[in-house]
Symmetry: C2
Amino acid sequence: MRVVFLGVGGGVPSLPRALPALAVTLDGRILLWDCGEGTQMQLQKAGLSLQRITEIYISHIHGDHVLGLPGLLSSMTLLRRSKPLVIFGPQPVKTLVDVTLQLTQVEPEFELETHEVKAGIVFRHDNYAMEALRAIHSVPSLSFILRIADAPGHFNPSKAGRLGVPQGPLWKQLQQGQPVRTPKGRTVTPGEVLGPPQKGVVVAYSGDSAPNPDFAVAAHAASLLIHDATFAQIHATKAAEYLHSTAAQAAEIAKQAEAKQLALVHISPRYQSTQQHLEEAQAIVARTIAPNDLDAVEIRSRLPAHAASES
Amino acid sequence: MRVVFLGVGGGVPSLPRALPALAVTLDGRILLWDCGEGTQMQLQKAGLSLQRITEIYISHIHGDHVLGLPGLLSSMTLLRRSKPLVIFGPQPVKTLVDVTLQLTQVEPEFELETHEVKAGIVFRHDNYAMEALRAIHSVPSLSFILRIADAPGHFNPSKAGRLGVPQGPLWKQLQQGQPVRTPKGRTVTPGEVLGPPQKGVVVAYSGDSAPNPDFAVAAHAASLLIHDATFAQIHATKAAEYLHSTAAQAAEIAKQAEAKQLALVHISPRYQSTQQHLEEAQAIVARTIAPNDLDAVEIRSRLPAHAASES
């Protein structure tokens, strides 16, 4: 699983920083968090096919977070996408999508659903779920928590073969965690043919938000917590005025959440460098990064202690 | 006067080619022709301030030509623009602008006018006028002809001083082409203090269009004719089907117009290289270019024959 920072700027794009968009690659799927103008170009630069996107989650309907959506849908349509796509976001995301497609005469041939959501689990797939949480901002805004469930370890087919388990329903039973009896009468346990179980992972994205204790709770133990850090400390009053966060406030939230890593995003174009942000946040949470556009963070499931000894 | 090719692609953006937008710099102003997604980023790369834009002309309301407009207006607003801006384009350009600004809660503090236009002179400034012409495309579409009027030559103040013309109303009269009498009784003619007159210039942009003989007439003797060349000859049937032009058709129009230079734009992302386009067009009009994104063409007023000998 990877998180690709497609655009780490906020408000107005700048030469070093594109507008907000994050791609999460997971099980061959791509999830987008936000879709600022230029997101489809950033996806190309990152080598990510826009046709692999399955869900788009919009934090709020400010232009810098959403104006890449009409163009992305237009390109998907021109490229003859057939796979369904689902979009989630606060009001009025559906109106924006519907009106811009209609005015520019784009008629997707793929199944396109746009859901206006408030809070709660907004989407579930096989082994992950996306939770939306109210953020603290000037318009209805969401933070998102991606929870990937604990998963059984990888099945080892050659080991199963050596133990005399024939391919077919018995393999499936082992994969589901049940012991089986081979045709020769031997009992094989899942532990003999499965790798170590993979622990669940949390990745959290604040969207635009003033510091929000609820987000710290929801993002508890996140492997990666991505937070609005529009301003450095010197502009703390602006952060308060516009309901954004400073880098230090982002770090305080990450500390409360006991997050394993913090990434600072939505950097105001007024800053040439993120050095100040980084120093102020690292004083609170050492494992803080200020990614550049197109940087990626790999997230691996960690082994629980009892499984680590097995491998 | 310069024409900057901000994006020479069409339909879907590609790594080598951004979506359609052209900037014309003129008298300290910037005029935009079309505004595809990412235009504000391309302006930054070209070193052109978006606050210097005075007019935006949209050829038609297909996403690739217009979806950079809401973000551009949003950035102008965030950057506290105060200078008026005027937008021209076919229906429904006004609805698109109004609805996207409203949904994303952008309230420009500058005077913003959006005019839905059909054909004719749509804008006049001191020494130039913009003419719109119906293009041949699948939705209401315009081509644009920029006409810069003939202008008197540059006034030479030191020469006027040496000839005994005092600064003030007499200078103005000379600049307007009238002879004057100096306080010492000498008659000074405009030819003595003005440089060679500058000949009018025409720059024409087809927008998306099948070959259109009316455009060739309107663009007569253009210094630069910029034309839809979505396809190479091998895809001529697609050009006909989608009401675009091939590079060769663009060249035929430029030849009919007796244009001095042809630039091929709106290149389909299916082509890695524009070599084929260029060869096919250059066989008809030798002075053809296939610009890359951010390339610029300088256009200087040429001297008429009778004036050239003076300088």
